[in-house]
Amino acid sequence: MPTDPPEPSVADADVQLAEGAVVRCVGAWTVHGVARLEGRLAALRWPQAAEITIDGAAVSAMDTAGAWLLQRAVRALEGAGCKVVLHGLSPQHEALVAMVRARAAEVATVPTAAAPRLLERTGLLAWQHALQVAGMLTFIGEAAVVGLRSLRHPSRLRWRPVLHNLHGAGFNALPIVGLLSFLMGTVIAYQGAEQLRRYGANIFIADLVGLSMLRELAPLLTAIIVAGRSGSAYAAQIGTMKVTEEIDALRTIGIVPTELLVLPKILALIIALPLLTVYADMMSIFGGMVMARAQLGVSFEDFIDRFGDAVRLSSYLTGIGKAPVFAAIIAVVGCFQGFQVQGGADSVGRQTTVSVVQAIFLVIVADAIFSVVFSTLHI
């Protein structure tokens, strides 16, 4: 209680049996003093009498926690058919006990929700996923409608956010994409070098690095980096704007959020990702060249000669051609998950994670579909 000295010495609360069906309460019945009191009260051998007196004169301090424990003990005794007399409590402490007693009914009726069973959980999960798919399709439809409207009136398109996103998602990603592509090129060349040397087929290193990088790995690697860098940022940005009601504010001002927030991001990424992929192509081939010279003694000139023969233009273009699709997937998933945020900070984190996982998953699925289609078309 506030009348304590500034640093209250916490004497542990306790209960003691006394003569003639009297139970004496001692010590500080405060939240810091009652840690062991609960067990003491449960273990106490209460007097077997029709009327029990609880003497609170020796209680040095009491707060809600202590009052609640006292009230709980009294209720248990009364439930067992005892008459309980509280005695000696200071008026302040008595008021606290009365206050807690008045709220006791509400504590008893706290409803506890039953944990859902396996079948219910499965159904709930399936339903949530179905809703997600439906929501995603709605979102894509909405973005397409807004996009077509903007195409008809290109002056309405918001170029400043497009350029801003192009800078953030494209230009700023150059260092990390360059470094990782270079390393990927060296790794592929290094792994291939062992095998090729065994057959004396050193020069085929250009085929290996060129085809694998240009057709598959560079577009995929770039898309995964961008999904982690920009897709997550989109989800977090839109999600936070949703939490702070900025999205609602946009709507009330008469700005379609999709037009301002989603379309520029999709457009910027569709432009940026193919360009980043070209850059990744160059850096990874360069990485392969460096490793080919170091491991297999293939000079830069020989490598480039062979590269021109081995890698057709179509291989290069199929790689680049996939990038806009990947870009659309990343941007749409990131923005969609941002709009899925409900509530607070926790939800922002969850949807951001989901956006990255989903974007990478869908990018790889799309890549697999491309492979099947290209191979049936003999490209």
Partner: protein, 260 residues
């Protein structure tokens, strides 16, 4: 100005944001058992003062004593005993969105005491009831509550350790008049049953008239006047007069007289 019963003493406090002087030698004290309010126009540094007292921001110079201890320059470890003795309710609630109301309210107990889980849930339920929420609110998440209910839940969390000192930041901002007047009574009731000292920041004139024992009006970076509402309404200072004799101030004052 050391008063034996002073719980919070602020002496010659100066705060600068960049080149703007927010507080220019602010001094005030809060006595044990009273409801002390800081009033003033928006942007006069009310909330900043509160945040400095609860160790969230640092002033440029001056002294702040809480429970007789100088708090400026305290580290997290030294500040912990103080922090356990006060409760803070933030303007927008600041409930943790990933926890239910009951878990939010029980968090300080789980963190700072060795009580069992069942007991913590029961104590949280008492505080939730005390704050005027229905028992069903405990299982809900903060985003499922209305603004007024969120404030009550925040209040329940602030008082769960039975603190000696309670800080309220704009307790009635954003509440409808009915909820706001309910909140007035709630604050009074808590003060009486738990024996709290309350320091609040508000510009709700009704709240000031109804519950505040003493009020400090901040303006121009200084304390323009301290005293009960009756005393302050006699003040000659033009800004204080403007504050109390504007159309809203007059209506609130008439309301307060009618009630007496």
């Amino acid at each position: 100005m050391s008063h034996p019963e002073a719980v919070v003493e602020v002496t010659n406090l100066c705060t600068r944001f960049g080149t703007t002087l927010v507080h220019d030698n602010v001094s005030l004290e809060v006595r044990r058992g009273e409801i002390f309010a800081i009033a003033g126009a928006s942007g006069c540094g009310k909330s900043t003062l509160l945040r400095e007292i609860i160790l969230l921001e640092r002033p440029a110079s001056g002294s702040i004593r809480v429970f007789g201890r100088e708090v400026l320059g305290l580290g997290d470890v030294e500040a912990l005993p103080l922090r356990k003795r006060w409760g803070v309710m933030f303007e927008r609630g600041a409930l943790f969105s990933s926890l239910t109301v009951s878990e939010n309210v029980g968090l300080p107990l789980r963190e700072h005491t060795e009580l069992g889980n069942a007991l913590i849930d029961e104590l949280a339920a008492i505080k939730i009831a005390l704050a005027g929420l229905p028992p069903s609110a405990g299982a809900k998440y903060p985003n499922e509550l209305s603004g007024g209910m969120r404030k009550r839940a925040a209040l329940a969390r602030a008082i769960v350790l039975d603190p000696e000192l309670l800080f309220l930041d704009e307790p009635t901002a954003g509440l409808d008049p009915l909820s706001a007047s309910g909140f007035d009574e709630l604050v009074q009731h808590l003060k009486e049953t738990l024996g709290l000292t309350i320091m609040m920041v508000t510009h709700d004139l009704d709240l000031l008239w109804r519950v505040a024992d003493r009020v400090a009006v901040l303006g121009e970076g200084r304390v323009l006047g301290v005293g009960s509402m009756e005393e302050l309404s006699q003040s000659d200072h033009p800004m204080v007069r403007e504050y109390f004799y504007g159309p809203r101030g007059r209506a609130a004052r008439e309301q307060a007289w009618k009630r007496k």
